[in-house]
Amino acid sequence: MSDSARPSRIGVLAVQGAVREHVNAIREIGADAVEVRLPRDLVDLDALILPGGESTAMRKLIDAYGLREPIAALGRAGAPMLGTCAGMILLAERNADGEDPVFGMLDIEVRRNAYGRQLDSFEADLEVPVLGHEPLHGVFIRAPVVTHVGPRTEVLARDPDGQPVAVRTGSVLATAFHPELTGDRRMHRLLAQMISEGVERTA
């Protein structure tokens, strides 16, 4: 998929939301960033980030321009994915509010805005053992709650109340918080590392 000579190409779904912050994070870790608005933008991507934003608006724009199937196909082909906040909702297989899943690649159930309205948005330090000893600072904004974790999913981090807030099913990674809003790039590096691990597996 990718030869080791060139930097990884990581796409950011750019129909709406915190796109710029992810693009900056991707560049900081030495990868190439590609904004994805149309199916043609998905060509030659090694990984894809689904950013925070409003999942209802993103869902409309994904379907209006035929992005649903090609993004799902990219995921089935093994390209690592990272969904943050609304991105987690788009990746989830099940939605506790009864809405249809969009990409259905992450073996969890989520509930939108379940931490509450904006006044309940918060920051907290999180233990994320897979990223090392140093806690990761999490910014949660009208965040979704993971209401059920399926058997194919590992929990990478929990909030201070014990709710899962970072999860992974195979090559699909998601956080209820916004790693792109802090200067800490470990979550983006983990995504990049999953690209090279995938290449080794298929080599």
Binding site: A18, G53, A57, C85, Q118
Partner: protein
């Protein structure tokens, strides 16, 4: 034990960052809020009257009835914003107690204080404020605004004021980025804005909070224009629900905000849309009646 900190500056500005690339729509009923959400709005502004009607009706324009705001909150899952009068911190306290997601301290309503804006740092809920130039933007950020919207002339459907003010803000930022540090002190004095925020803006090459466009946006092409001039998102007031076909206009403007630099898609969404809002040329409005001039 890990601690949780609520309503921090990062969460206030963060919500604004999540709205980037989107369209925030004025709605006056729960049904309109549902139409807006269904069309792909990223947030709604709950109002009793859109600016076009405020302008037509005259009189004092105030915060909306909490009952209306509650109905709109219950009708939608996207963020709900509401307006208070400039300087009217009691209205803002009521809106915070209603748990709206953003408060717009807005010149569209009749100002309550002709000298002081609200001390927005005192509130847990984030604020958006309007500006006509860089100094006004930076003063509002100094008072605690977590989002700026460059003012157009609300309720006119005429984009000219929005363009004028967006260009003024962007030009002001470009000038700051070329200054030596000692010149920034003089610039802060001239802009009548806090030095640390002036310096931060010069270093970033952009405002330290997201800058959206509000007022005068009536068509998909208007949304594209403002995005290309530097607006990260657009507010659309009268432009949607005063058009001939609000659902179609709403969907078209949402697509135009995303695909703002793709002329083929702009052709597609602009074709056969029907009558836009009728509009009033802002040059026909005497300067003293222009809403954008309110705020200090």
């Amino acid at each position: 034990m890990t601690t949780i900190e609520r309503s921090t500056w990062a969460t206030k500005v963060g919500l604004a960052r999540m709205l980037a690339g989107g369209v925030i729509m004025d709605v006056v009923t729960a049904d309109q809020a549902k139409i807006a959400e269904e069309a792909g709005a990223v947030a709604v502004m709950a109002l009793e009257r859109v600016p076009f009607d405020i302008r037509r009706d005259g009189g004092v324009a105030r915060m909306s009835d909490p009952k209306l705001i509650e109905e709109i909150k219950n009708a939608t899952t996207i963020p709900v914003m509401a307006k208070c009068r400039i300087g009217h911190f009691a209205e803002a306290q009521i809106l915070q107690s209603l748990e709206v997601d953003y408060i717009d301290e807005s010149e569209v309503l009749t100002p309550a204080d002709e000298e002081h804006h609200i001390d927005k740092h005192e509130f847990s809920v984030p604020f958006v404020c309007g500006c006509r130039d860089l100094g006004e933007a930076l003063r509002r950020i100094g008072e605690g605004a977590a989002m700026i919207r460059t003012k157009g002339e609300a309720g006119t459907g005429d984009i000219v004021e929005a363009v004028r003010h967006m260009r003024a803000v962007q030009k002001g930022i470009r000038e700051l980025t070329n200054m030596r540090t000692d010149e920034l002190f003089a610039a802060a004095k001239e802009l009548r804005a806090p030095y640390d925020i002036v310096k931060q803006t010069a270093e970033l090459g952009e405002l330290p909070v997201p800058n959206f466009s509000a007022g005068g946006v009536a068509t998909p092409a208007d949304a594209s224009l403002m995005r290309q001039l530097g607006a990260q998102a657009v507010f659309v007031g009268s432009g949607i629900f005063k058009s001939a076909d609000p659902e179609r206009y709403a969907r078209a403007i949402v697509k135009a905000a995303t695909h703002f630099d793709n002329p083929e898609i702009l052709v597609e969404v602009s074709t056969g849309l029907g009558e836009p809002m009728r509009g009033i040329s802002s040059t026909e409005i005497p300067v003293e009646e222009r809403l954008a001039t309110r705020g200090w």
